[in-house]
Symmetry: C2
Subunit: 400 residues, 2 copies
């Protein structure tokens, strides 16, 4: 039995598949794997002769494993690789046994926080460890990609590229590490949870409508993304936050532009999202106007939540800014001890010099439901037995 944590991968988005069954994307993409101390998918998998069928529990609720579905495809592929291991080495024939898999996300599912990406990555990692597969993260990414496209990137920590590949069988469409976590550990992120409502449009159906109807998507794919991919990789390797930030924001905007160019149009950002953009744009404008640098970059995936990237040293100012405009019901959890306990309170400190306060209105409590301060993180971890989600009989502990 093995416990594996996956992780939320949030950043450069992919949108549009050239093959929906194999989940082959229309363009390469890049993501930052975030710290699983703050955002985590934990998965336990086990196989046992007593199990009568493959079963999955997700966040405490049993989910059907549909034959031929994405989950079944991933499990089948992992079994096939286990059989190869069993053929070559003196390993027990566990590939014939049924699997029980139990997974838990500590953040809202289907609210645009990439829960399926981290969930599928954790699942594939967990079963691969159970099966003792001699596979590299890139090889495993070929499997997790077929569960949820973005999941292929979450097999790595740090900064990760999903190379779209060219082959029709998808064997060259996998993730590679651009730089590990410890290359640029100062890269922090503030996640602004704008809504945990179920999304109006699921990523899967939304992106297919964009492929079919957007007149701008093909231009973006062919003539914009490749250069941006090359440029942002270079920026990461050079730890050039200025360039990283510019590309991140421009590409977030362009992703939402092609969503809007879809028929009927898709909107993920709402008035709260727009106001967070206005705050970051003004923060950067005021800084650059005073001879400084770009301080932060916003990015939005398929939902209204903002992820704000910034060097660690800027986070205090950013958190104070966001809380000033979006007062919080609960006290800010300050995992990095940015604010002097008992002396400083986020939202009560002065705004940066030269900041034009009129760029956004001050919202009601609850408009931003929560703030998560995190940073670039590592890849899947094998956890100890004490964190197992299945009990000795192979049933979820949380249901017991």
């Amino acid at each position: 039995m093995d416990d594996i944590t996956g992780l939320a991968a949030l950043a450069r988005r992919y949108w549009g598949k050239r093959d929906t069954k194999l989940i082959l994307p229309t363009n390469s993409s890049l993501s930052v794997t975030l710290d699983q101390d703050h955002l985590r998918s934990t998965t336990t998998s086990r196989c046992d002769p007593s199990f009568e069928k493959d079963r999955l529990w997700l966040n405490g609720k049993e989910e059907e494993i549909k034959p031929g579905g994405r989950l079944a495809v991933c499990i089948e592929e992992l079994r096939r690789l286990r059989k190869e291991v069993e053929k070559k080495a003196d390993e027990p024939k566990i590939s014939d046994l049924h699997l029980h898999i139990c997974s838990y996300n500590n953040f809202p599912t289907a609210a645009g926080l990439a829960s399926s990406a981290s969930g599928f990555a954790a699942l594939v990692s967990s079963v691969a460890a159970l099966y003792k597969l001699p596979a590299t993260p890139s090889q495993l990414s070929l499997i997790s990609r077929q569960g949820s496209g973005s999941a292929c990137r979450s097999l790595f920590g740090g900064f990760v590229a999903w190379e779209m590949g060219e082959k029709s069988d998808g064997t060259d469409s996998f993730a590679v590490e651009v730089a590990p976590q410890d290359h640029w550990p100062e890269m922090h992120a503030l996640i602004c949870v704008v809504s945990d409502d179920k999304k109006g449009t699921s990523s899967t159906s939304g992106m297919q409508r964009t492929v079919e109807t957007s007149a701008l998507l093909q231009h973006r794919i062919k003539h914009v993304v490749p250069q941006r991919m090359a440029d942002i990789k270079k920026a990461i390797l050079a730890k050039d936050f200025d360039t990283f930030a510019k590309i991140t924001m421009q590409d977030s905007n362009q992703f939402h532009a092609v969503a809007l160019d879809t028929d009927p149009p898709i909107f993920y950002m709402n008035d709260v999202s727009r106001s967070i953009i206005a705050l970051i744009v003004e923060l950067n404008r005021a800084s650059v106007a005073a001879g400084g640098k770009i301080k932060a970059a916003y990015t939005y995936d398929a939902g209204p939540n903002a992820v704000i990237y910034a060097p660690e040293g800027n986070l205090k100012e950013i958190i104070n800014l966001v809380v000033t405009y979006f007062p919080q019901a609960d006290a800010f959890k300050d995992p990095f001890k940015m604010f002097a306990a008992g002396q400083e309170e986020p939202g009560k400190l002065p705004l940066p010099a030269g900041f034009n306060e009129a760029v956004a209105k001050k919202f009601d409590v609850g408009s931003v439901k929560g703030l998560i301060h995190t940073r670039v993180g590592d890849g899947p971890r094998v956890l100890g037995d004490s964190e197992a989600l299945l009990d000795a009989s192979g049933m979820p502990k949380t249901l017991a």
Copy 2:
């Protein structure tokens, strides 16, 4: 002295200039001129030996006429044409006299209702009539274009194209009639006034940032707009509302997509605008699902206000739908007597069969501040003396 009303021209947008001084657009565009019984710019112009300088009053407030500014350029051009008239014919030499111009819009200025388009069109028409210029509307559109790009289209009633032209001096960038008002008088429009706040980004500075920074704009201009222009002209000539509606909505979305692809991004639509889109998308979906046709088309210019185009017969249903989700502080002014007085109330009638009520939430009173029901209109009209805005001494009556 002549009084001329201009008109609000709302619909296919132009965005991006290839020459900012001459106001030459990056693409051709199309508009529907709306009925001045409901949306109107009224302008009175007069010249007199007693006037000491050119003066302009706009909505009761005197505005500076900056030397070399857009207004000054228009006036200069009109004077030049008057001088040609005076040279050829036995006409009084009034081109040497100073002008007093008084203009009034009966709708909010700078809130995205094309007030500058109708205002400049009315101004040019008024002075041209005062000067008895033998100019066609297309010739006058060359002048009004230099005041406000969109104004060139408002010199015509009905359905109007602004052909971008190719020449660097702008002499082939003018408006032409696609079809007059009486070709398709059943084309009605419902304007939803979402906000009369001053816009965050003026059209002029916004469109230049888009030209400079959007990676998608050039593709839109070169590869999308020309075909859409040809298709929508054909649809208008054939009175094919289905095609007209599809192109109108897609192009509205794409215009806002390139605004969003601007750096920093430009947002004109807000959550109220998005919800109006959701209502129209669902109205059309339910109709098509039941074997019917597309019932309405939304379009948004550089602001949050929706303009909903529909055949006259659909307006009652549309008004009822909008008022159901956006309750009105004031009773709906019903210029076309859609609702039986004393018996039917907008917002209280049943929604269309099969309409999914969950596509939008019901908003508070005031989210949509007003509704204007209008239709395709005629071009500039010369009004009688009783409607003059200047008194016998050449001063604005409203200030007296």
